[in-house]
């Protein structure tokens, strides 16, 4: 009856008015400056989000209560062309070292000082099993509303 499907990777491509060097730097070194504050691991508000600038580096967040939450690690660090991150955050927004999904970002010169950004979040089939789906869905409906609210505030 129902078939098992593999969810397609999430892919986003867009152009930014910045060089690949700057785009890569903002994405990594400047990670904290743009990462949405609304969603984070743990119960304490996020104070800083960090991507350590080397292969094997950690990807984590710091929180108001002084705690630190791991998200995954840097699998490939190839400035300014490519960044590959292990995203080990489950759909319930918790860290799971056994979960491996990959976030890859490629920065390609597009001429005129612009950069084409190709984003991919793959391995999504490793998320969740059917028995958690309903509770996940409920949690996500609420969570997504909060993110959008922040987004709308930010864009005015």
């Amino acid at each position: 009856m129902s078939q098992t499907i593999t969810p397609a990777a999430i892919r986003k491509s867009f152009t930014v008015r910045a060089t690949p060097e700057k785009a890569f730097r903002v994405f990594t070194e400047g990670f904290d400056s743009w990462w949405p504050r609304t969603h984070h691991l743990g119960s304490s508000p996020l104070t800083k989000a960090v991507i350590e600038p080397h292969a094997g580096g950690r990807w984590y967040s710091l929180h108001e209560d002084g705690s630190e939450s791991p998200w995954g690690e840097v699998l490939a660090w190839e400035p300014p062309a490519r960044l590959l991150l292990a995203w080990r955050i489950s759909h319930e927004w918790g860290y799971d070292p056994k979960l491996l999904t990959e976030v890859e970002v490629r920065f390609t010169p597009a001429g005129g000082g612009e950069t084409r950004v190709d984003f991919e979040h793959r391995g999504l089939e490793r998320f969740g099993a059917s028995d958690t789906a309903n509770q996940t869905r409920t949690a996500m409906d609420g969570g997504w509303g909060l993110i959008l609210e922040a987004y709308r505030t930010a864009v005015g």
Binding site: Q3, A8, I10, R17, E21, F119, T136, W144, I147, L148
Partner: protein
């Protein structure tokens, strides 16, 4: 759905409407298209995109084809993440384009 208005700020509104109708329960294309401001072929096209994206699945039901949200829940998770990344990457783009450096071609710009 409480989030319907918020969702309208992102992506293709018709496609999201299709998706949200399916979130309430499985439907054949014909019923899905009723009340939507687009043609039935357009709805089929949206369904094709949603299916390719891993958000919905379909099954034959007699001569009809019934669409539903991925029963394993991955469609839900994927939909959420997809929208989440839209928000995050929009924020990244804005930050990368922030004119702190008028010489955007100059790689020597140091913070």
């Amino acid at each position: 759905m409480a989030n319907a208005l918020a969702f309208a700020a992102l992506a293709d509104p018709t496609r999201r409407e299709v998706f949200e109708r399916l979130a309430r329960g499985p439907l054949p294309v014909g019923e899905l298209a009723q009340g939507l401001p687009v043609s039935r072929p357009a709805v089929s096209q949206h369904l094709k995109v949603l299916k390719a994206a891993g958000l919905v699945t379909d099954r034959p039901d007699g001569t009809r084809r019934v669409y539903q949200i991925d029963p394993h829940g991955l469609g839900q998770i994927r939909a959420w993440l997809d929208r989440f990344w839209d928000v995050a990457l929009d924020a990244f783009k804005a930050e990368a384009e922030r004119p702190d450096d008028p010489q955007a071609d100059d790689e020597e710009d140091q913070p």
